[in-house]
Symmetry: C4
C-alpha cells in the first residue's frame, strides 16, 4: 500500500498550517486524478482529498516532521467538517490497509470536538499500529478564526477535489464556441432519455 514517490515537478506546496504547544497541523488539497475513456470522455480515476498532517512538538517552537501522521479527508468527511456547528463534533475512522492482507492492523481516527467555551475545536489524531506496536496521539487546538479559514478554504477546495471544476463553460465570447448546441449535440441528453 505504499504509493511510489514519482516525479514531483508541478507539485504545489501551499498548506494552511497551525502550530500549537504539543503539535502542529497542516491542511492542503490533493487533487483527483483523471483517466481518459476509450469513448473520448474523461473520468475521475482516483478521488481527491484534503490531506491533514499532524506532527509533534519536540521543544519550544520545534516540531519533528519525521514523526508526521497523515489523514486524508474524503469529500463526505470534508462536508461533515464544514457543516459543524459551534457545539458539534465528529469522528472519522480510517484503515490505511483496508482491502489488503494487513486490514485491521493499523487504525487511525480523527476526532473534532468543540472547546467547552465555543472558542474553537480540538483536532485529535490517534494512530494505533499493531504491526509496529505503536499507539500515537496528537492533539491540536484550533481557534474559531483558524477553523473559519479551514471552512472557507475547504469549501473552495471541495468541488476541486471532486473534479467538478472540470464542468466549466469554455469562454465562448471569444474565438471558439465549443459548447455550441450545434457542435456538441451529446450535451443535450437529459432526463428525457429515460
Amino acid at each position: 500500500n505504499h504509493a511510489a514517490e514519482g516525479n514531483s515537478s508541478n507539485k504545489i506546496f501551499a498548506s494552511y498550517s497551525v502550530y500549537k504547544g504539543k503539535a502542529a497541523l497542516s491542511a492542503s488539497p490533493r487533487l483527483p486524478t483523471f483517466a481518459k475513456l476509450e469513448s473520448g470522455g474523461v473520468k475521475v480515476d482516483r478521488k481527491g482529498t484534503i490531506m491533514l498532517t499532524f506532527w509533534p512538538a519536540i521543544g519550544e517552537r520545534k516540531y519533528d516532521w519525521e514523526k508526521k501522521q497523515l489523514f486524508a479527508l474524503s469529500a463526505t468527511e470534508v462536508g461533515s467538517l464544514i457543516n459543524l456547528g459551534p457545539q458539534d463534533s465528529c469522528e472519522f475512522f480510517h484503515d490505511p490497509a483496508m482491502l489488503s492482507s494487513n486490514a485491521g492492523q493499523v487504525r487511525k481516527s480523527l476526532s473534532i470536538r468543540p472547546h467547552t467555551d465555543g472558542s474553537g475545536y480540538f483536532f485529535s489524531l490517534s494512530v494505533v499500529n499493531n504491526i509496529l506496536k505503536t499507539n500515537e496521539r496528537m492533539v491540536v487546538p484550533v481557534s474559531s478564526a483558524e477553523f473559519a479559514v479551514m471552512r472557507t478554504a475547504f469549501s473552495f477546495a471541495l468541488p476541486r477535489i471532486m473534479g467538478w471544476d472540470q464542468y466549466n463553460n469554455q469562454q465562448v465570447g471569444g474565438i471558439t464556441n465549443s459548447n455550441s448546441s450545434k457542435v456538441l449535440p451529446h450535451l443535450i441528453d437529459s432526463e428525457w432519455e429515460r
Copy 2:
C-alpha cells in the same frame, strides 16, 4: 423527446455518488449550451441543470445501472435545495413529455424530506409512466455530511449551469486588455439607457 446521443468526446464523469441499502444516488452538473447571435454576442441556448440519477440495489452492494431514473434540477430547484433548513422539505414535479403529444403520460416527482432526528434527508424519486404502465419509486437517505457536500458543490455549480462563469474579466494585467473602456464601449450601457 429522445435526445440524440452524439459524440461523447470531452464528456466529464465526476459524479458525487452515495450508495445506500435500497438504491444509489449520484449528482453531476450538465452545462448549458450556447448559441452565437448574428450580432456577434452569445446567449444561453439550452439551460444547464444538475442531473440526479437514482438506480436501484439488486443485492448487497450491487446496483442495476440499467434501471436508472433521471431527474434534472433547474437553477431554481437547485436554489430550493441549497436553501433547505434542517427541518425543511421540498418537492418538484416534472413531465418529461411536456409540450409534446405525450404530455401528462409520464410524471416524475422528487421529494426531499428531513429525517425526524435532523440527521439528513430522504431523497425520494417517483416515476409514474402511464404508457409503460409502470410505477417506480426509489428512496435514498442522505446524511447531513453528504448533504453538505451537495450544498457546497451545487452552490459551486449553480453559476456555471446558469452560464454566469462567462461573465469573467479577462486577465488584463498581461498582454491584452479587451475589456478596456476604450476597446469595448458597448459595455458602458447601463440603467441610464432608459
Copy 3:
C-alpha cells in the same frame, strides 16, 4: 447620459429571469471596465454592477420588453441584498441623471420587502420621470428558492463586478512562474511601507 450602443460582439446573454403575473424580472452581471495606467498597472475604470431589468406583462405570459426599466445594483447594494434575512427589507434610490443638469428629474427606487409568510420577497421598482411626466411601478414576487439562486449567483458575481478576479495567481506549476518573488519584487510591498 445615454451611453453609446457600441459593438456588441463578445456580449453575453445569460440572465436569470423570473416571470410572474404582472411583470418579469431578470438579473445579470455587468463587468467593470479597466484602464491601463502609464505605470503599466491596471485599474478599474468603470465599476461593474448587477443589472436588474423589470418589464411588464401585457397579457397571459406575454411581456413587453420595450417597456423595460433598468436598475443597476452597485457592489454595496448587492451586499445589502445577499445579506437580507427572511424578515429584512431594503430600499435603494438612484438618480440616473445625477451630476448632470437633469439631476433630480428622474427618480428610481427599488424596494425589496419580505412576504408576510416568509416565503420570499417583493421586488418593487418605481420610476418617477418629471420630464416625461410618467410614474411607473412594477412589482415582482420572488420566491425563497428564486432568491436563493440570486443570493448564490450574486455572491459569485460580486468579486467579479469588483474586478477582484484579476487578483489571481498565475499557474506556476507549469511553464511560467511570473509571480516569483525574484521576478516581481513589487509584490513584496506591504504594510511595512509606512
Copy 4:
C-alpha cells in the same frame, strides 16, 4: 523593513473603498509570491494578505492619501473577520518591525466592534510610533451592507492569498491530460505513506 518598490507593471488596482466622515478605508488582496523548488515543485514564498488602508479626511469629501496607514490581514485574521457575528468583535496587534532591532517601537492595532444597534461595525486603526513620537487613530464606520461585501469578497480572496487556487485541475477534456494517473504517479501519494 522597507520593501523595494519594484516594477509595477501588472499591478492591479481594484480596491473596495468606503468613504466616511472622518476617514476612508479600502481593502484589496495582496497575492502570495511563489518560489520554485529544486525538485521542480512550487511553494508559497511570502504569504498573501488582504491589505486594509486607512486615510484621514481633511475636509468635506477630501481625504489625504499621504497620511495613509496600512494593516495587512493574515489568512487567520481574515478568517476571524469573516466569522464575526452581528454582536462579535475582534482585535489584532501588529508590530511592523518585529524581529528587527526596532521591535516594539511601532505598534499597530485594528479593532472591529459592532454598532450598538447591530447595523454594522466600527473599524478602528491605532498606530503608536515611539520613534516618530506619533500616535494616530482613525475610525471608519462600516455598514452591514458594506461588511457583507467584505465578507463575500474576502471569502473569495482567502483561498487565493493562501495560494490554494494553484490546486486547480487542468482541463482534461481537451487536448492535454496532465493529471492523468499514468502521467503523474506522484499525485497518488496519500496517507498510506506512513
